[in-house]
Structure formats: structure tokens, C-alpha cells
Symmetry: C2
Subunit: 197 residues, 2 copies
């Protein structure tokens, strides 16, 4: 196999969820398309990596000092939704159900991987949360071991602020079934049951 092709396949295969076979498929596709398309893809990768940086306020991906959400005067800045990654912001935004601000931690606590509180965007969170300005902090870290540990840490961190805190609901996913739900999910779904009025 020519070296340039091998190098491309190797780089593509290092992306998440792309094995060597898929990488080869992508590489052959890129080589079949006009050179301009390959140049364009390469330029977009470089541009995205160069232009996007953490928002000064919330840590979300931004092209300017503030991300589009923090810069939007129509958003409710009295609610802060704490998430692990910018991709989580995108997921919540896709629901069209939330009009508040975010706080992106840049990961979750994971001592085994060397991720302690200092590695996360936690300092500025305490700075942002003051009883006058903020009425609720929604903790939306993942329902995983690391996400739960991070949620606990944030609860302790912000307890003295006196601001209301909440955790996103854990229960059965839409379209799921009791039969195939794991024990923890089902236990949470029972525990967090909502009263019918």
C-alpha cells in the first residue's frame, strides 16, 4: 500500500468509532473525490481547531470571547446547566427545551485517569453561582460512575451558596421497556417516580 495512503488510513483509524476497515473505506472515498473536496475537508478541520476555543464565561466552544449562548441576551442567565462536554450542550440544545445558560466542565472526575477537580472547569463555576444572580443550578453530568461522582462534588462545592440545585432525572428512556432495563435504571425510575395529579 502506498505510504501516503497508509498514513491517511492510520490517522482516520485513530478517530473514535472508526476501525481500520472503515478508515480504509473513508480514505478510498476521499481519493475518489475531486482534490478540492479533500482540501476543503482538511481546511475545515484546521479552521475548526484554530478558531474554536472555550467561552470565557461557560467553557463551551466559542469563536469569540463568549459563546453564542452566553452572548445571547434572550437566554435566561439565572439558570445554569452544568454539563461535562460541549457535545452535551449540543444535545440539550437539540431538545429546544432549555433557555438558560450552561457551564461546561471539560470532563468528569476520574481519579484513576488522573482527572481531579483541578483538571475540570470548576473554579469558575463557584465564581458564577451567587444567590442574587442565579436561581437554579441543574447538574446534567452523565449518569455514569464518573458523572455521579462529579455531581456529588458539585453539590458539596455549591452547598454554601444557598442556590437551588437539581439533577436531571434518571429513569427509563423514551421507547425503552421495563423488561430490558438494567436493575439500576429501574431502581432509579421507581425512586424518582412522579406523582400524578
Amino acid at each position: 500500500m502506498p505510504k501516503a495512503l497508509d498514513h491517511l488510513i492510520e490517522a482516520l483509524a485513530s478517530l473514535p468509532g472508526i476501525g481500520r476497515k472503515s478508515a480504509a473505506r473513508l480514505a478510498f472515498h476521499i481519493l475518489k473525490r475531486p482534490p478540492q473536496e479533500a482540501a476543503d475537508l482538511a481546511a475545515r478541520i484546521v479552521a475548526a481547531r484554530e478558531k474554536l476555543r472555550p467561552c470565557n464565561n461557560c467553557g463551551n466552544l466559542a469563536e469569540a470571547d463568549l459563546c453564542d449562548i452566553c452572548a445571547n441576551p434572550a437566554r435566561d442567565n439565572s439558570i445554569i446547566c452544568v454539563v461535562e462536554e460541549s457535545s452535551d450542550v449540543a444535545a440539550i440544545e437539540a431538545t429546544n427545551d432549555y433557555r438558560g445558560f450552561y457551564h461546561v466542565l471539560g470532563g468528569a472526575l476520574s481519579p484513576l485517569d488522573g482527572v481531579g477537580p483541578e483538571e475540570l472547569n470548576l473554579d469558575s463555576l463557584s465564581g458564577r453561582v451567587s444567590p442574587g444572580a442565579v436561581r437554579e443550578v441543574i447538574i446534567a453530568t452523565n449518569p455514569s460512575t464518573e458523572g455521579e461522582a462529579t455531581a456529588s462534588y458539585i453539590i458539596t462545592l455549591l452547598r454554601d451558596s444557598g442556590v437551588k440545585m437539581s439533577r436531571i432525572a434518571r429513569g427509563l428512556p423514551a421507547g425503552g421497556s421495563l423488561e430490558f432495563a438494567d436493575r439500576t435504571t429501574l431502581a432509579r425510575a421507581l425512586e424518582n417516580r412522579t406523582t400524578l395529579k
Copy 2:
């Protein structure tokens, strides 16, 4: 979503087998890694597209005038295996079972998609096949409608050359089962049965 991110996701989602969700996942991954990695991936895409061109002899991907296979004196140049794409060369090479030359057509006949004989690397195939130099042409186009049509076309094209032609076997795939094989595959497997000695 910031524009630079949107542009990147859009470009990634245009790759085969990558939907918008996977594209977003890849984009967020690229943005989390060091800038050098993004630059490297971009450089490899550009380098591959610029450096690789069709081999002057067989049409396979090459970094020089001849591809690594045509330039290899240890290969048997009296057998030519005709395939649709360079990715098919890679697949056959991976078997370690073939030591001859290749001929890459650059696709298969597909009149509905506007691919006629002129669009394929067929002219140079007739030029390569002469009874003195070549003892066998293996037609290894895909066992699809287009691949079979292309195979028929090549058989007609080379009939007068007097060179032996063969078609790769069609039958049950290794690990497959009769129960789940489609009718055409099973019919071919019966038709092309091999005599036991």
C-alpha cells in the same frame, strides 16, 4: 452551534457511512485533542490526495509512475487480475494469496449512472493483454449487477486475444450457512460446485 464547528460536521457527514451524529462525535473528538493532531490529520488528507495518482500501467493508486505492485520484479506479470477499485486491490492483497498483476477499472459499467466503457480504464486493458505476455486474466469485478455486466463486457472485449480468462468464484462465504444464503448465491454455489478427488 459555532460556524466553524458546523462546517466541520457538515464536511465529515458527507463521508460514506458517517451520519450527522457520528460526524458531530468525530468533530468534538478532533476539538478535544491537541491542535497538532488536527493539523496532522488535515495534512495527511491533503498529502494523500495530492501524492496518489493512477499507476501508468494498471490504474492502481501510486505515488510514482508505477504502483508498488507493477514496480515489483518479484510479481508474476503474466497474470492480470481485473478489479473495479484500488480498494479491491487492497482486499485481494490482504489474502496473501495472489502474486500477479492487477488492472483497476475505476468503477463498473452502470449506464443509468452515466458510466459507459469510455468512463472506465478499459482501453489500456486490451493493450496490456497479448497472448505472448499474458497467460491468464482473472475477472474480479464485484458479483453485483454492474460488476457482472462489466465482466461480460471484458469477456467480449478480450475474446479475440486468445488469452485464458477466468472469473472469481461465487458461492457461500466462509462462515456462512445455507439456511440464510439468498437464492442466487445458493444457485451459484451449486452450479460452481467443485469435484472432490
